[in-house]
């Protein structure tokens, strides 16, 4: 569910980042209250644990394996605010030091995986646990919480993807970033998460929670003692969706589904992307209006090609010698 760069416009990334700033600030405040100053470095351990959780392959029935995020698990074990900080740090290290991508999309990824997933999961868990009898309630809460938590996060990601082609187009009407509208992104993300990833999360969360509860129950986060009022749940859900709502202003929500589908069905026109001028074959200039060389001094083109050629040759030589070094010498 990690969103890479260049799928979301910089403005989307900035908005999601801005949405996370209050969350992070509050998380730091809350954690500081519960964790004395000299224990702050220990948050690193929660982050390391969160990072490693994402590395494990979870066996699911059928013989395949998949990765889980463990957001709800972390929220239950460490508390939701500590979970947010831990997952944020883990994502930061993944993006910055492991180079998987997602530097600009960091805000969006944190919003989905470090905020929506653990909080939705945790509140549903608590909500159910407080209303259904003890042990049964706990486990139903965990199942529901982890399943819904991860799927809510997937939905947020899908929405972030899907509104890109609606909001960010170039002059020719082509999408600048993710080209798949909501009608494609939502089913694509949700089907895989509802059917597979969600199940993986549930299995992962329940099994590990049960183990820790049996072996060392004292380590599980105690949490707030008061019951959660239903109205807060609704308010919370609304707050979660609001940044996405902000992005979607200017787009009539109802329109997206029908129009796109209509275009696909009616032969000849496809997905409404291509402007009139392209109907009769694809001319290079029309396809790549930004690439046209009109008025561009030839020299620049030549220099760049030369530089590229030289660099590629050097790289190939270096790779070959590095590979050779690795091979054992023949006696």
């Amino acid at each position: 569910m990690h969103i890479p760069d260049n799928y979301l416009s910089p403005s989307t990334c900035a908005v999601m980042g801005a949405a996370m700033i209050p969350v992070w600030t509050i998380a730091v405040k809350k954690v500081k209250k519960e964790v004395p100053k000299e224990r702050i470095p220990l948050l690193g351990i929660g982050a390391a644990f969160s990072f490693l959780l994402m590395m494990f392959n979870v066996p699911i029935p059928g013989g395949t394996t998949a990765h889980a995020i463990g957001a709800t698990l972390l929220a239950i074990l460490l508390g939701p605010w500590a979970a947010t900080i831990s997952i944020t740090i883990a994502l930061l290290i993944q993006a910055l030091l492991f180079g998987d991508g997602g530097i600009l999309a960091f805000g969006a990824n944190c919003f989905n995986m470090a905020f929506v997933a653990p909080f939705v999961g945790y509140f549903i868990y608590k909500f159910i646990k407080e209303r259904v009898s003890a042990r049964k309630g706990e486990y139903i809460g965990i199942v529901a919480g982890s399943y819904i938590g991860i799927n809510m996060a997937a939905l947020c990601a899908a929405i972030e993807f899907g509104i890109q082609p609606l909001l960010f187009k170039n002059a020719a009407g082509l999408p600048l970033y993710c080209p798949y509208p909501l009608s494609v992104s939502i089913p694509a993300m949700m089907i895989s998460h509802l059917a597979v990833a969600g199940i993986v999360e549930v299995i992962f969360t329940i099994a590990i929670y049960a183990f820790i509860k049996r072996v060392s129950p004292g380590m599980i986060y105690e949490g707030a003692k008061q019951k959660i009022k239903s109205v807060y749940a609704i308010i919370f859900a609304l707050i979660c969706l609001s940044p996405l709502g902000l992005l979607a202003t200017g787009t009539a929500w109802g329109e997206w589904g029908l129009d796109e589908i209509k275009n696909v069905i009616i032969g000849g026109k496809s997905l409404g992307f291509i402007p009139e001028g392209m109907k009769n074959g694809f001319s290079f200039n029309a396809l790549f209006p930004d690439y046209s060389m009109k008025g561009m001094p030839d020299a620049i083109g030549y220099i760049l090609s030369a530089l590229a050629g030289a660099a590629i040759l050097i790289i190939i030589f270096k790779i070959i010698s590095a590979l050779k070094k690795g091979k054992p010498k023949n006696i």
Binding site: N6, Y7, E38, G63, G99, G101, M296
Partner: protein, 272 residues
């Protein structure tokens, strides 16, 4: 104790024929963890940052570079950016180049496949713009992370107003990824060695490992806390990186200034 004290079944040979069972999750988890641990181990060998360029500049300009890439609507700029990265790459060691390109090509290929449906529907813009953009972004960030000491990169984050104490948290996180990772790896190996037949409760095995990892992490936390207190730590922390500005830094800044100019130039030329 004598030979007579040893139970009979231990003195005989075992005649066992295993059934088939898929234990791929153990192997895949092991591979995944090994990958992480060796990645961290590789970077700790550096004595200095790339060519002595101050990590602060590297971090700032790499992020700026990625932003420009993302904003750019000029394929020409994207290609120029890629050429710039190729030039940097050819200055690096062979093994580094291989690993960086492996990741970049991998992610770019994956992107290409994902965007293929839109191309088939006639939208060539996305696939031609986004794929090289992604290639460049991933290459840039991997160059940063492979050629700089990680604690330099982390210290460089101070320019983004991250408080010192969180720099310590990040350092501690990496250490614990190694320690907990090695700990879990040992357990995974032990599980693998004991996976001699059909494991009906795979979930239980995996959750046992992860659960134990959690408990161990809490114990380690207590130990680190005691160790820090014993050396006088009471919550305040200051980082002590010396900020050196050298000739290479000015070269690096000039190179990046050229990139920014290219961005503006190509953007202006082709803005519609």
């Amino acid at each position: 104790m004598t030979e007579k004290d040893i139970p009979e079944w231990l003195l005989k040979n075992e005649n066992y024929f295993p059934q088939s069972d898929k234990d791929t999750f153990i192997n895949k988890s092991i591979t995944s963890l090994l990958g992480v641990l060796s990645h961290i181990r590789r970077q700790s060998g550096h004595k200095t940052d790339l060519f002595g360029i101050n990590a602060t500049f590297s971090v700032i300009f790499t992020i700026l570079f990625i932003i420009l890439l993302s904003v750019s609507r000029s394929l020409f700029f994207v290609i120029t950016a890629n050429i710039y990265l190729l030039l940097i790459l050819c200055l690096l060691k062979g093994e580094d180049i291989m690993v960086i390109l492996k990741t970049s090509f991998g992610v770019a290929a994956f992107t290409f496949i994902i965007l293929l449906p839109t191309a088939l529907y006639g939208n060539f813009y996305s696939i031609t713009m986004i794929t090289p953009k992604i290639f460049a972004s991933v290459t840039a960030i991997n160059i940063l992370s492979r050629t700089n000491r990680w604690d330099s990169i982390i210290s460089a984050l101070k320019t983004f107003f991250i408080p010192d104490i969180f720099i310590l948290v990040l350092d501690v996180t990496i250490m614990y990824i190694v320690l907990l990772g090695e700990f879990s790896l040992d357990m995974l190996y032990a599980l693998k060695l004991r996976s001699v037949g059909k494991n009906k409760s795979k979930q239980a095995s995996l959750s046992g490992i992860v659960g134990t990892m959690f408990i161990k992490s809490k114990e380690m936390a207590e130990d680190t806390y005691a160790a820090m207190r014993c050396r006088g730590f009471t919550g305040e922390y200051h980082t002590y990186r010396k900020f050196k500005f050298s000739f290479v830094d000015s070269l690096y800044i000039i190179a990046n200034a050229i990139i920014i100019l290219c961005f503006i130039y190509f953007g202006r030329y082709f803005r519609k």
